[in-house]
């Protein structure tokens, strides 16, 4: 034999499970006795979960009001019909009156909702400078080009915060008033405007630039405010922990929404007499109407919502679980019937063999 492959086994792969294709494997052998209980168990679990989700979703109360100001929809219409194209629009005050027949179980969250607002538009979504927002002085002076046309002001000063997202900051403001007795005075309900942003955003992603001489205003010297803003970023709030880039409204706004209809948290009601929720009585929401939405066919809503372990009110997930669970059980029953019906036949077949 002239076959010269040198010594025996010279090119042989190692005799291991890996190289010899003998890795252990597990293949579930699907039989009726495994599949049927599986289906029933999954179905029951899904139904249980679905019921839980459905009821907790139903237990959540929501109260919402569209204050866009389309003609004839309330006292915000005079603001709505005002000239919407000027920026900034004239400040307009309006109010929403509502009454609660019973306690609105807390904790109560106050949201605003915008519709038809495409925060997920690509050009809009990239129009920000995260380096600037994290407080880098160099980025403060030199915003990235994605921010254009909100990169530099007409005079050539860098805009802080730059970009379309920041420029379109939602600037309506709300205050809630409670009338305990009919005809009595309205008492302001304290709104907690802190803690509405993500912890990571507030503490890690967003930072003010280093103070100059202890002053935030000096730190922002040499920058311009976004064209739509009535005042510069360091005057967003008087609270030094809530102004500049770490203003919570601003941080919330900068976390762009995935869909054209979105809600953002405005405030939490959890202080004083209102920690358990909103007691019954008449209420008034004072709205400072600044934000124009009618130009792009959008709507603005204000929403009071309680919250549960599963988040906000949305029965959909619960319903889906219920449907899938029922389908599982139905399929299980069908298979059970088939199994019982044809089991004997199978046995006979096997016997014949």
């Amino acid at each position: 034999m002239t076959w010269s492959a040198t010594a025996r086994g010279a090119h042989q792969p190692d005799n291991t499970a890996f190289t010899q294709q003998r890795l252990p494997a597990w293949q579930p052998l699907l039989s009726a006795s495994i599949t049927l209980p599986l289906f029933f168990c999954a179905g029951l679990a899904f139904i249980g979960l679905g019921l839980g989700l459905y009821y907790s979703s139903n237990a959540i109360k929501e109260l919402e009001y569209d204050y866009t100001g389309n003609p004839g929809t309330g006292n915000c219409s005079r603001c709505g019909v005002a000239d919407q194209d000027r920026a900034p629009p004239p400040t307009c005050l309006c109010a929403w009156y509502f009454s609660l027949p019973e306690l609105f179980q807390g904790p109560v969250y106050l949201y605003y909702e915008l519709t038809n607002f495409y925060q997920n538009n690509r050009r809009y979504g990239v129009s920000r400078d995260d380096a600037q927002l994290s407080g880098l002085p160099s980025a403060l002076r030199h915003p990235v080009n994605e921010c254009a046309p909100y990169q530099r002001s007409a005079t050539g000063l860098p805009i802080a915060p730059c970009g379309a997202i920041a420029n379109s900051l939602f600037n309506d403001s709300f205050s809630l008033w409670h009338q305990r007795q009919p005809g009595g005075p309205y008492v302001e309900v304290p709104l907690d405007r802190t803690g509405i942003a993500w912890w990571t955003d507030y503490h890690i992603k967003f930072h003010n630039p280093p103070l100059v001489n202890g002053s935030l205003a000096l730190a922002f010297q040499g920058t311009a405010r976004p064209p739509n803003w009535p005042r510069p970023v360091y005057q967003l709030s008087t609270d030094p922990n809530n102004t500049g880039f770490i203003n919570q409204d601003f941080v919330v706004w900068m976390r762009t929404a995935a869909l054209p209809t979105f809600r953002k948290l405005y405030a939490r009601i959890r202080q004083g007499n209102y920690s358990a929720g909103l007691p019954r009585g008449a209420y008034r929401v004072n709205i400072t109407y600044n934000y124009p939405v009618r130009a792009f066919g959008g709507h603005k809503r204000i929403i009071f919502s309680s919250i549960s372990w599963m988040g906000g009110k949305n029965p959909f997930l619960g319903i889906v679980y219920l449907v899938v669970g029922s389908l599982c059980i139905l399929t299980g029953f069908v298979m059970l019937v088939v199994y019982i019906r044809y089991q004997d036949q199978n046995d006979e077949d096997e016997d014949q063999e």
Partner: protein
């Protein structure tokens, strides 16, 4: 393995053409080596030698035999040659004492008819022996003799000479004369000869056939050798209609006519053929058939027809030779059907009118051959082997695999889609030109049925899964575009896009591509039928692609819209873009990975289901003469031309005889050919086995 009386030995020595050792290289007498045209003959003579009846020498009209130490010279009076119709041959000798004996050997059924009354009683025991031999796949022969008195011989010789001198119908006349002499024989016994093939050849061929792989044998060997081997490895079976040259010509003629007249009949060959066919064709005939456009097939067929008529008409033939009778009737019927009806209907009629005769001829041949259960091409040159493979590739939409071990297989191996070389005695050319190298033929089974199948299955699953996972993850971006004003905003973050294929889903895909085994190796070998999935493109085709497409799209739809509707109206926890993206990505990733796990399961069902396993138990008894040489070599011997040649020429002749034994047999098959080199070792193994009973345990030299 041998039976009968010592009288047996001169018979087997005489009967065919084993040549005694050459004078210039006298080996020791106990190690005589014979060279014979037929390995069977060689085995018989060797066996006789080992039993003490040594065939020493022969001249034109004498045979020298050492019978248990005593040297005796027999005078050869006449040889009644073998042909495939007679299935027997006889020799008439005068022994040293001066009496005349006729010794006959032949197929059991033929000899049975010619036994004298007394011999019939012994027949039953012999028949039992024959049956048991046949069950062990041994090839059997019966031996008989009779004493001829001087007067009968003289009278018979007269007629024999007259018959030999005839100008017309000489063969027929001679047969008649022979037949008169070969009557009232006395049974001597029976012999059985074993073909030993390489280990596992039988199983391998059975497996491949069950796996719907067509096996064609392409070889340089002589037809009879290959047919024997074909029977031994069950490529051919008794219930097959074996098409030989004249039948092939007839069928193709029918096809030819139908094409020329553009008669497009309804009955296609498929419907007409309930008979299992096999084809045996030689290289010369193939050349005639395909390569000479000038030669009219019609002429060819007419010539052949005359021959067949002759051989079929032999008197006495039909009485008891059930096998022959059946074959004849089968052949007659089938051919008549073919010829009577339109025969093969061209597959694509419109193209026929534009095809050249050459192309049509080739197409017809390939079509006929691929309808056969087995195709054996013998006497092939290396170029012809390659030609056959190329023909199959050209006219049939199949994958071809060629396996061989010799340098003359290289053409074929390189022509075929897949070339497999066997490492063996023949050198390394075949191996060096092949895609795969195997040490033994039987490993082909594992290569195709286990690794080939796994590989196909893995590639298909890999593709299917890859399509699915890409669609399931990326279609989401399209759905998202509807909600982002078609602004090309990617839903996924860039890191996820980068790492998705690279990291998150790479392991499942790799796992499928490398380790997936839907059926274990043992089960694959047990159920060769599973192999045919690949031949039908079952695991990946447009339908499967569409399924994967739809499946992926559905997954992406569910992922996206479930997330969308759940997040709608909820500020928390994931109304913002980042959270939404992460949720969709995670849910896509999980469903993709789960999908992979699920895909493992279904194959179990196939494996658990026992497919009907066809085993053909009936193996009719067969005699080596039933399908042996077309004609014997008695003419050569009696002419003495071989014996008179100079030693140099003689050595050439011998070399020629030995070459076919070693020449490779290389089948190419339709779906995937394969081969068996081992067949060429037959001669040697048989040799060994014949020699002594003890050689039973001897391993063939080539393992």
């Amino acid at each position: 393995m041998g039976g009968g009386s010592p009288k047996d030995s001169p018979l087997s020595a005489n009967a065919h053409l084993p040549l005694p050792p050459l004078p210039w290289s006298p080996p020791p007498p106990d190690q005589l080596l014979y060279q014979a045209a037929s390995p069977d003959e060689e085995a018989l003579v060797t066996a006789a030698r080992n039993l003490g009846y040594v065939f020493l020498a022969r001249t034109q009209d004498s045979i020298t035999v050492v019978e248990l130490g005593e040297e005796r010279v027999y005078q050869v009076l006449a040889m009644m040659d073998f042909n495939s119709a007679r299935k027997r041959m006889s020799v008439l000798v005068r022994n040293p004492e001066g009496s005349i004996y006729l010794y006959t050997k032949g197929a059991d059924i033929v000899l049975f008819d010619r036994l004298c009354k007394k011999g019939l009683e012994e027949w039953t025991t012999t028949e039992e022996a024959l049956t048991s031999f046949a069950k062990q796949t041994l090839r059997t022969l019966c031996l008989a003799y009779k004493k001829v008195d001087e007067d009968t011989y003289v009278e018979w010789r007269q007629r024999h000479q007259e018959a030999s001198a005839l100008h017309q119908n000489r063969a027929q006349a001679l047969h008649q004369v022979y037949d008169e002499m070969e009557q009232n024989l006395q049974l001597l016994g029976a012999t059985a000869i074993e073909d030993r093939l390489q280990d596992g050849i039988l199983e391998t061929i059975q497996c491949l056939k069950q796996g719907n792989i067509k096996v064609w044998v392409l070889t340089g060997d002589k037809p009879e050798t290959v047919v024997n081997i074909g029977f031994a490895c069950q490529l051919l079976s008794e219930d097959m209609l074996i098409l030989e040259e004249q039948e092939i010509a007839q069928v193709l003629e029918a096809y030819w006519e139908s094409n020329n007249n553009l008669l497009s009949g309804k009955g296609s060959l498929k419907n007409q053929l309930q008979v299992k066919m096999a084809m045996v064709i030689s290289g010369e005939f193939l050349d005639q058939l395909l390569l000479s456009p000038s030669k009219e097939p019609r002429v060819l067929v007419q010539n052949v027809n005359v021959d067949t008529e002759e051989s079929w008409q032999e008197p006495g033939e039909r009485r008891t030779d059930f096998l022959q009778a059946r074959r004849t009737s089968l052949r007659g019927q089938t051919l008549r059907t073919w010829l009577g009806s339109v025969g093969l209907v061209p597959q694509n009629k419109e193209s026929n009118t534009h095809e050249s005769p050459q192309v049509r001829r080739e197409r017809a041949f390939v079509e006929l051959a691929s309808r056969c259960r087995a195709v054996i091409c013998c006497r092939m040159t290396p170029k012809q082997k390659a030609l056959i493979v190329a023909l199959v590739k050209k006219y049939q939409n199949v994958v071809t695999l060629a396996i061989g071990d010799g340098a003359n297989d290289v053409n074929m191996i390189k022509t075929a889609d897949i070339g497999v070389g066997l490492a063996g005695k023949e050198g390394t050319q075949a191996v060096q030109n092949s895609d795969y190298m195997l040490a033994q033929f039987c490993f082909l089974r594992r290569l195709l049925l286990v690794h080939g199948r796994w590989s196909y299955m893995r590639v298909c699953k890999f593709l299917r899964y890859f399509i699915y996972k890409t669609l399931a993850s990326m279609m989401v971006q399209i759905w998202f575009a509807f909600y982002s004003g078609f602004t090309a905003q990617p839903l996924y973050e860039s890191w996820f896009l980068v790492l998705f294929n690279l990291l998150y889903t790479s392991l499942p895909v790799l796992y499928i591509g490398l380790f997936e085994q839907d059926v274990s190796a043992e089960q694959s070998l047990e159920l060769p039928q599973l192999y045919s999935a690949g031949q039908k493109d079952e695991l990946f085709n447009y339908w499967v692609f569409l399924q994967a497409f739809a499946h992926g799209t559905a997954t992406s739809l569910v992922n996206f819209f479930m997330t969308l509707w759940i997040s709608q109206g909820m500020s928390e926890p994931f109304s913002d873009y980042q959270s939404f993206a992460v949720v969709v990505a995670l849910s896509g990733l999980l469903s993709i990975t789960m999908e992979e796990e699920e895909k493992e399961a279904p194959a179990e069902g196939i494996a658990a289901e026992p497919l009907p396993y066809l085993r053909r138990e009936s193996r009719a008894r067969r005699s080596s003469y039933a399908f042996s040489h077309r004609e014997g070599y008695a003419d050569l011997i009696t002419q003495g031309t071989i014996l008179r040649r100079s030693p140099e020429v003689n050595s050439d002749t011998l070399a020629d005889h030995s070459v076919p034994c070693d020449a490779e047999l290389a089948p190419s098959t339709k779906e995937s050919p394969w081969y068996q080199r081992s067949l060429s070792f037959l001669g040697k193994k048989r040799h060994q086995h014949q020699g002594k009973a003890s050689s039973e345990g001897v391993r063939p030299p080539l393992r």
